[in-house]
Assembly symmetry: C3
Homo-oligomer: 338 residues x 3
């Protein structure tokens, strides 16, 4: 697509990068080092892929100064090649903005307010008193209940549910299958039976947040469940009621956070981590993959739990010994004293 | 909303609670101790929040007898404040029951039977021979396949799928994105390839069950997958084919239960627990967060597995040693004998 | 249903099984040993159920030669009774193929191509340039974005989303709630904020794959996310961008695979396993339930991690000792030297 072609010089200037080599090279797409063709820009950010540099057929490569001399082609020098690449790649993203307007099939409550600059796709339903702001996109099959807000420039890609009292800030991106504002899991025991605790709060999502596919965020029991600005959640995450997540915190797939827990700013929660309810995690915490956080974390740093993978037979022997670990420690203590 | 205001005396009488202080106080909502305003009722159930009692601006507080003297306001005395609060809060839940009737857009098989007292929302499809009973609510975007039953007073909030042969009892509540009755994961190896084992059973859900958002419950291979009455499942749970869960058992988010396992009554399964297939868990079992249950449990009690979170560097050293644990135990045994 | 009745002799001949006992017995359904009635065929594959053989009321049983003499009824002898049963059961699966045609409510882009032999259900939307091939079924509420392909004979059961650039091979089966082709989770840090890395790749799913309910498969950042032929994924699985899964590999529910990881052919990944990003797992690997795979696996075999469930009090003591494990090992080493 010629309309997307840019000279290397133009790209360098636009993103403030140093260019080494032929300025006139034309770039019409981006690709990995291994697969880039003669009109494509590659990048080298992760040292794991350094061995692919010499053999690349890319028209040019974005990389660090220190890797430039190994490149067989023109280079764009960046202190953070991944960040530079992210910005450049956006030039080549064919994602077209859907046209404003309301699809004829949409079922919209008469008390809902839809900005004329918003896009409402087919088979969307929107409940009482909800508001869709300018430039927002509500894709096919979304269900928006009562008293919700989709802020300006936000996008619900498709089949997203905002159950009730969910307020999204601006430029929030929500992927298909996500469910925001479902009942928190609140139960009280009444003799032999459970009775349901009404969930009267809502969900408040800050500007620039991203919510992954099939992720669920329950609404609060009394107060809101809150994501501050620029929180990034991957797919299949469960955020229980009354959780609060600080700005710029990111969570990878399959994380679960139990109710009423507060997580700080700038945290990185790796995949499949489980976080207990009613605890606090301070700012700048990293939890490694599949870690289980049972208690509050009060110091920034990196944390982990679990054991390492090994062959099944060896694992069985060691796992059996784990059950004797306290006994082993006592025996060892006794021996050391003798 | 004046229509929702109640005097403290009326609330005390309705729920059989002792009132200490001004009977004429008017309550128009419920809130946490920290945020309750001058016309709202707070509650103190979890001792973790006791420090918030003295400073609350609530009109009144529901609490235990032993906490009453520290309250700066009128009190409703309850032996179980959380239960009392759950009941009182329901007075203030604005959730309106949708009106009976079938939305014009719904696609309903001519052989399906819809009770005139049921509500069918927009973009709902209902398959052959399925039955929606009186007072049931089928929210926007639900897909109900063939041979399903939605019992009286049950609610599918929105975008729920009942694939085929799914029978819900009365007053069952299913949250958005849940999928009940999909094919169980049955495969037989045929040389190099898999062949699919037909899944001919269904799903039977007892009265008063609750199924969380994006939870999945597969239908049985031959017999049904069964939830007895009053089973409570949180979000993102996976229940495989032919599982049977006993009455009043509750599971928190992200639990997975593999095929053909039977779980007893009154069990509490915490978040992110994994339960193996083809095992039995007896009544009154508690499994703590992220526990992995590989074998049957035959005694009531509390169970756990896993290791505790620690700093990443320390964890790496200990995790490396876990692989030597059996060897350590043998060495220790030898030393102790010498 | 008389139309589904078959004589035992006909079944034996059709599937190449030896018949022991009355050839004229008529079979009108399949069931478990415990519940089979007088016109139903039972099966014994898992030795766990051998004790149910003597008491079965089944008309006949599929089993191994070695179990035949204990059967109280005619037998079909199979070297792999589970496989034989899977094939026979398909005779009794009432699943009717939906009629070709496009439901009147469907919203289809004028540039999409729908084969006249495909079935498009109610409330389906299909985007620009997408193609639905002969015999494909797109069930109620599915959303198919731009530039997708649903190959011949494939089925999207209901409420499946193919976001963009998702290409399914032939006879692919996708269960409700699955989301294929959502944005991969690519973020670059720009000072205090995250910026999104454009996700320009797609998803390529080979012939005969099966994707479970509410499973998510993100599209690649640059190249595609790839499932080779006959890959079988259960429910609630998360496959991140640029993952590649080899032919005939099967994964049970709740597995998570982080980005850019390659998994070999014929692997079996049990439930709730977590697999790190940027690693490689070779062919013929089995990972046991809830295992966490942090590093590449280069040898076929069975692997596991984690600890075993025990009573909560005992577990707490042992888990506390795990934090001292390296110290214990050092102390033991010192003692052994003395």
């Amino acid at each position: 697509m010629a309309t997307h072609a840019h000279t290397l010089a133009a790209i360098a200037e636009r993103f403030g990068l140093n260019l080494r080599g032929d300025h006139a090279v034309t770039i019409s797409g981006v690709a990995t080092l291994a697969r880039a063709g003669a009109d494509e820009l590659g990048f080298l950010a992760n040292p794991r892929y350094r061995s692919e540099l010499a053999g690349t057929r890319a028209a040019a490569v974005v990389l660090r100064e220190s890797d430039a001399e190994s490149a067989p082609c023109p280079c764009l020098i960046a202190t953070d090649p991944y960040l530079a690449f992210a910005r450049i790649a956006a030039l080549f993203d064919p994602h077209p903005a859907p046209a404003p307007g309301i699809h004829a099939s949409a079922a919209i409550d008469p008390t809902a307010r839809i900005d004329p600059g918003a896009h409402i796709g087919p088979f969307v339903s929107i409940g009482a008193r909800s508001r869709i702001e300018a430039g927002a996109v509500v894709g096919a099959g979304c269900v928006i209940g009562a008293d919700c807000v989709v802020g300006a420039g936000s996008e619900l890609v498709a089949r997203v549910t905002l159950v009730v009292r969910v307020r999204l800030g601006q430029r929030v991106l929500v992927h298909p299958g996500a469910v925001l504002g479902a009942d928190g899991f609140g139960l009280a025991r009444d003799g032999a039976h459970w009775i349901k605790v009404p969930q009267l709060g809502g969900v408040a999502i800050g500007d620039d947040c991203e919510i992954g596919a099939n992720t669920t965020i329950d609404r609060g029991a009394l107060d809101d469940t809150v994501l501050e600005e620029d929180v990034r959640l991957d797919n299949q995450i469960q955020i229980a009621h009354n959780v609060r997540i600080g700005a710029h915190t990111a969570m990878a797939g399959c994380v679960g956070v139990a109710g009423s827990t507060t997580i700080g700013r700038n945290c990185m929660i790796a995949g499949a981590v489980g976080i207990n309810g009613h605890i606090e995690i301070c700012d700048d915490v990293v939890v490694h993959a599949a870690g289980v956080v049972l208690q509050s974390i009060t110091q920034p740093g990196e944390y982990a739990s679990g054991t390492l993978l090994q062959d099944h037979r060896g694992w069985r022997r060691n796992a059996a010994r784990f059950k004797q670990l306290d006994e082993m420690a006592r025996k060892l203590h006794t021996l050391a004293k003798d």
